[in-house]
Symmetry: C2
Subunit: 156 residues, 2 copies
């Protein structure tokens, strides 16, 4: 199966938004892959629906435990041990702002989409399934404390 043609847009939005919002260095790591199954990659994930005249899709921003705790330790200037509601809300806000940046870039490229509001899911071994049957591309990123992933089934 083919990767999403929009991976470069998602990558640009993540690198535009997250380092500034989190005061953390972020870089792409490794190749994009097409996901097999519906197990969420990280332990805490923001999910946002996207819909347009020709598209119905979602974007997921999913952090490994150590990655999100490290990001919060940097932002707060102190050690963080627990993924609490404040962190869940921030993951929702990161997802929302990255998706807004994606929306703007897509619009500039002639593709109009609208965004829903984000939902945040926290747990190990969670499966998430939506109605979109297109393949999901996983884009990996790394921070000094761990990895996170953007997943999207936005296709053509």
């Amino acid at each position: 199966m083919a990767l999403s043609p929009y991976t470069q847009i998602f990558e640009a939005s993540v690198l535009n938004v997250l380092p500034t919002m989190t005061m953390t260095s972020v870089s792409r790591c490794g190749d994009c892959v097409v996901k097999d199954g519906n197990l969420v990659t990280g332990i805490v994930s923001g999910i946002i629906g996207m819909a347009g005249p020709k598209h119905h899709a979602s974007m997921t921003l999913s952090f490994e435990r150590e990655a999100i705790l490290g990001i919060f330790a940097t932002m707060l200037g102190e050690h963080v041990e627990t993924i609490n509601d404040e962190i869940l809300d921030a993951v929702g806000e990161f997802t929302n702002i990255i998706c807004g940046d994606v929306k703007r870039r897509l619009s500039e490229a002639g593709t109009i989409i609208e965004m829903a509001t984000p939902l945040v899911v926290f747990g190990a071994d969670v499966r998430i399934r939506d109605r979109v049957t297109k393949p999901t591309t996983v884009i990996p990123f790394e921070t000094p404390s761990g990895k996170f992933f953007v997943e999207t089934n936005l296709g053509v």
Copy 2:
């Protein structure tokens, strides 16, 4: 905190839709409660966003493991051991049709809402957080094989 004023509408929609769709007897059991925290009640849950001029909310239809396996055993006429993608898709469809029935009843009562598309989350000890800060009411139901719950933060 007060219960959602719309609990009777959600109850009526569940009892209108699910027994017919699943060929399973369904009844209300116990009192509605206002939820403390954001841990999902069941193991497999369909979630759907609802938005209108005066409302921004969601509805969750969450099944205990034995409840959804029992419903599927009845529907298929054979023993079912595993919560597979077919079951996840069906939970999304139950959620969608119940929410559509809620939407119709609300419209008849003068409240206009639009529905997003359902997302299905499967896992134990999952926390789900959205942007709605209103209290979530949990409405319990029982089937011959187990319980399920409708949760909503649709308020006034």
